[in-house]
């Protein structure tokens, strides 16, 4: 395992921080009614939405409390919102208490996800979600 505890925590913390800034941008952009913000490389190059396209819109509608719309845009938004909400809190608790519960949890999850009986259904779910994304034309 190459990833050390501190490296994992800083990556996750920076990612969540960047995510919150991105959400703030999305919120302020939404009110100005311009063309929607799109940075996805896959979509720019191929014109096909990627599996996680629309997750910003999904999280934004989650913030407004519209669960049905969030699910309709991209169900991955629920997962992202959950991780973004939970992981900074968990990291802060871990760092202040000088423990590594999150790191152990991450490693355990990683070994579970490598098992084929769990990995194959999850890959199928992602692909089905991708096909749905393409058909609804995000």
């Amino acid at each position: 395992m190459a990833l050390s505890r501190n490296k994992l925590y800083s990556i996750m913390f920076i990612a969540c921080f960047a995510g919150y800034i991105w959400l703030y941008f999305g919120l302020s952009h939404e009110q100005s009614k311009d063309k929607p913000l799109e940075v996805c490389l896959v979509k720019h190059f191929t014109n096909i939405p990627c599996p996680s396209c629309g997750s910003t819109r999904s999280v934004l509608s989650l913030i407004k409390g519209d669960f049905n719309e969030a699910f309709g845009i991209n169900p991955m938004g629920f997962l992202i919102a959950f991780i973004m909400f939970l992981s900074p809190l968990w990291i802060i608790v871990d760092v202040t208490a000088k423990k590594n519960t999150l790191f152990n949890f991450y490693q355990k999850i990683e070994t579970y996800l490598k098992k084929p009986q769990l990995a194959i259904p999850l890959v199928l779910i992602v692909i089905i979600n991708w096909i749905w994304n393409i058909t609804k034309g995000l």
Partner: protein, 112 residues
């Protein structure tokens, strides 16, 4: 181990490691017992070129990270569209180094 065998190993597998690590690997291999040769010579390493190709083609889906065994980071890349495209581009330049580090970890299990 015989120096000749070790040099043969280094010649055929040198591209899988960072150049500054090769000398250390060579010394360790020479100091190693001959009985481990069968194991050492059959380890499968990951090719940095392959991961670079995968990273360029499917990097924003995180597939390069999944292949290297970093499942957690792969999911992170998949969920965020390759870190809003930034992480995907950073990984085009980083993934070869990461692959070589993974290979070093793999051979280190046998060296020590």
């Amino acid at each position: 181990m015989e120096a000749q065998k070790v040099d043969m190993f280094i010649m055929s597998n040198g591209k899988f490691f960072e150049s500054h690590q090769i000398n250390v690997i060579r010394e360790r291999l020479i100091a190693l017992d001959d009985s481990k040769w069968a194991m050492i010579s059959t380890i499968q390493f990951k090719d940095p070129t392959t991961s670079l190709i995968v990273s360029i083609l499917a990097g924003s889906l995180g597939i390069d990270r999944f292949i290297l065994g970093d499942t957690g980071l792969g999911i992170g890349k998949l969920l965020t569209c390759g870190g809003l495209g930034i992480w995907a581009i950073v990984d085009w330049f980083q993934i070869q180094k990461v692959t070589r580090e993974k290979n070093l970890q793999k051979i280190q299990q046998f060296l020590y």
